[in-house]
């Protein structure tokens, strides 16, 4: 019986390996009669890319069956439910760098399935961020997220403001290059309740991410070399104090601790916020008179630096993964490749998001020639991307976020001092790591 099983297993391996060599030579390949079940991220901006799926079907002869389309938070819930019920037989799933470490086992390593030359065409740091424990768990699509600073240009051309600012702070009023300058300027511009200096995402993973990047910019680390939470350091207190001070001085909207990305974007578009650290996806929205009051008045600059000289740069990206349980990994990998190839990325990044292939970056910059705003945006984000760093690749990242962010909020709202809040948060984060057997 055992021998029978092993010979069957060997047969499976042979079958699995044999098309591989053929496959690597030509993409997208031929997969007549194969059906690929997929779970994709939902949202208007992604539909354009999905229109390319029929093309892939025509090229390969395979069919794609879209099981669900949801945003990543909902998708995360769904995938977790699938794991719990042992139902991960679907093949292609949308993935996100912040969520990916939670389910290390369900996705297969893409390296053997994608030709090396193709992998080399991606921006190396993004490939690195997609690799967990040596496994390339996803192929990045044109949705690289790092924040840059959006600002209202007119504020910096107003002579009266310039003079008043110089008098008060002793340096010229120009778009800020450090977070200390952001504080000065935000407080200078703020005139609540009608106008605010800046704003920040105030809850859930968002505030934790913002704190994380500020911590790095202040020279601290979130998790130390031994894997212990280390954000309750002096750098941590400095980082958190930045948020606390702005809130206390009313330079940010009072509701900011309940804001998530959409509130922030709408807030800046409403023209009531001077400076806004935000994602590339908003660039078009902010400059469109139909959606934004500040259209035509938007400047974009690389994100400011912290006191350590390092710039903030919390980043994440979307990608597509192939499951371990997928029956036809080659076909699935071919689809993933197709959705992230040069043409797909050109199509996607046309609308604003940042590509993850080097060639597409160049293509976009060339295409933007003559459009001053687009060029400014691309230049700013190209700079921003150079400073980008992902979150620590911990399976518990989201869980740690959930236990840390209420403490950050407590400090910002003045319920606790920064040190108290961070100590408590570190303790909770340690418990989370202990519970999962990491410490």
């Amino acid at each position: 019986m055992l021998r029978l099983l092993s010979s069957v297993a060997a047969g499976v391996i042979v079958v699995a390996l044999s098309p591989l060599s053929v496959f690597a030579a030509e993409l997208p390949g031929k997969f007549e009669g194969v059906t690929i079940d997929a779970k994709l991220i939902g949202g208007q901006q992604y539909e354009k890319l999905y229109e390319r799926i029929p093309e892939w079907e025509k090229l390969t002869g395979a069919k794609v069956n879209i099981l669900s389309k949801k945003n990543h938070f909902e998708l995360d819930k769904e995938i977790k439910s699938d794991i719990a019920s042992g139902g991960t037989k679907w093949c292609v799933g949308s993935n996100h760098s912040s969520f990916a470490p939670q389910y290390p086992d369900i996705y297969t390593d893409l390296k053997p399935l994608i030709p090396e030359t193709e992998l080399a065409a991606f921006v190396p740091s993004v490939i690195k961020a997609s690799t967990l424990d040596g496994k390339l768990v996803m192929l990045p699509r044109a949705q690289f997220d790092v924040s840059a600073l959006y600002y209202q240009k007119s504020l910096y051309t107003d002579e009266a403001k310039k003079a008043a600012f110089k008098e008060k702070y002793g340096y010229d009023l120009t778009p800020p290059d450090t977070w200390a300058q952001v504080t000065d300027q935000a407080e200078f511009f703020a005139a609540p309740p009608n106008f605010y200096g800046t704003q920040f995402a105030g809850k859930e993973e968002a505030i934790n991410g913002r704190f994380y990047e500020m911590l790095v910019a202040e020279g601290g680390e979130y998790i130390d070399a031994e894997g212990k939470p280390a954000f309750n350091s002096e750098a941590g207190v400095r980082a958190l104090d930045w948020f606390v001070k702005l809130y206390k001085d009313k330079a940010v909207p009072a509701g900011t601790t309940n804001y998530l990305w959409d509130d922030l974007g709408q807030g800046f578009a409403s023209g009531s916020v001077a400076l806004n650290l935000d994602w590339p996806g908003w660039a078009t929205f902010f400059n469109d008179p139909k959606s934004s009051k500040v259209a035509g008045n938007v400047g974009v600059k690389v994100q400011p630096a912290g006191s350590s000289g390092k710039r903030t740069g919390w980043s994440g990206h979307h990608g597509f993964s192939v499951t371990q349980a997928c029956a036809n990994k080659e076909a699935a990998a071919s689809l993933v490749w197709f959705l992230t190839n040069e043409d797909s990325q050109k199509l996607e990044s046309e609308a604003g998001p940042l590509p993850t292939r080097s060639a597409v970056w160049e293509y976009n910059i060339n295409a933007a020639k003559g459009d001053a705003y687009k060029t400014e945006v691309l230049n700013a984000f190209q700079e921003a991307a150079k400073n980008a760093f992902p979150v620590p690749p911990l399976a518990e990242w989201i869980e740690i976020s959930n236990s840390v962010y209420p403490e950050l909020q407590a400090a910002i709202l003045g319920d606790k001092t920064s040190k108290e809040a961070l100590d408590e948060a570190a303790e909770k984060a340690t418990t989370v790591l202990q519970d999962s057997g990491k410490l």
């Binding site: 719990a84 509701g255 601790t257 309940n258 989201i398 959930n402 910002i412």
Partner: protein, 298 residues
């Protein structure tokens, strides 16, 4: 043959029992079991580890849990009583109207047609401190020149949530009470009129006892139907900021899916069920008493 024949009530209740057993009881057994395991969604194997009462102890010794518990009781008490009173008022107003009953009755149910998800978003936008409807209105009318942090200040945030909850659920009370008003015999009220009772006396001693069973049915339904509020709170504040509006439901929801700690979340959920049972049994008793009062047989 005769032995096989089920009695009439059993036969009549059978469909309900079958459906409820399949869709509620069976899954419940599973989640009850999993509350004794360290079950994590992302690690299905953990379902087979048995840890006894550890999850319950973790939950019961957690300060956050008890604060959330207390706040949930507070919210339920305030919201249910307010909904009850407002629903009663609304039903009487509509019942008294001589014209446009149909339209009024439909409008009365209007909030029930809003998906809780929508109610959440809607009130979140309305209470936004910067561009929200409420602050804009207050500022435009010159009532305040501040941006009131509706969803930030602990009390205001709870207030905002209660407003959203009351707005969306008062209709439930209103329609049930209205149905009671419509089903009520007219003679006693007329008799009371003839006897020279004031409107208040008529209401207190004639109308109200008739309505009580309906009011308690509504109370019971609402005290159980807490999931509706979960969607609202989840979207409006998700328990924040700094846990100022953390309720059992948001706490459990986050623990279950975001943290993926299903075992612990289920333990919390079972403690929360106790709360529901308490409310239910309380109202159920009231219901039985109210029925006795109007002479219905039990």
């Amino acid at each position: 043959m005769k032995n096989f024949k089920l009695s009439a009530p059993t036969l009549l209740l059978l469909p309900a029992i079958v459906v409820l057993a399949a869709v509620i009881v069976l899954p419940l057994l599973f989640s009850f079991y999993s509350s004794f395991t360290p079950f994590r969604l992302t690690k299905p194997d953990t379902l087979w580890l048995f840890v006894g009462f550890r999850n319950y102890i973790t939950a019961l010794t957690s300060v956050d849990f008890w604060i959330a518990f207390g706040r949930t009781v507070l919210l339920l008490t305030i919201a249910l009583n307010a909904e009850m009173l407002l629903g009663l008022g609304l039903a009487m107003l509509v019942n008294k109207a001589t014209m446009g009953q149909r339209v009024l009755r439909t409008l009365m149910l209007f909030p029930m047609m809003f998906s809780p998800v929508l109610v959440g978003f809607q009130f979140k936008f309305m209470f936004n401190d910067n561009v929200g409807f409420v602050n804009n209105a207050l500022q435009s009318l010159g009532i305040t020149d501040r941006a009131i942090p509706w969803l930030i200040d602990g009390n205001l945030a709870l207030f905002s949530i209660i407003v959203a909850e009351i707005w969306s659920s008062t209709s439930v009370f209103a329609i049930l009470i209205l149905a009671g008003l419509l089903a009520m015999p007219k003679d006693p009220v007329e008799a009371a009129h003839v006897d020279g009772c004031t409107p208040w006396q008529t209401f207190r001693y004639v109308t109200w006892p008739y309505l009580m069973p309906f009011a308690y049915i509504a109370m019971t339904i609402r005290s159980l139907d807490v999931a509706r509020a979960y969607d609202i709170v989840k979207i409006m504040t998700d328990g924040g900021p700094a846990k100022r509006t953390e309720l059992l439901w948001t706490l459990i929801g986050r623990t279950a899916y975001s943290d993926a700690r299903m075992g612990l979340a289920n333990a919390m959920a079972y403690i929360a069920i106790l709360l529901s049972i308490l409310f239910t049994v309380y109202f159920f008793r009231k219901l039985a008493a109210a029925r006795q009062q109007i002479g219905a047989e039990w």
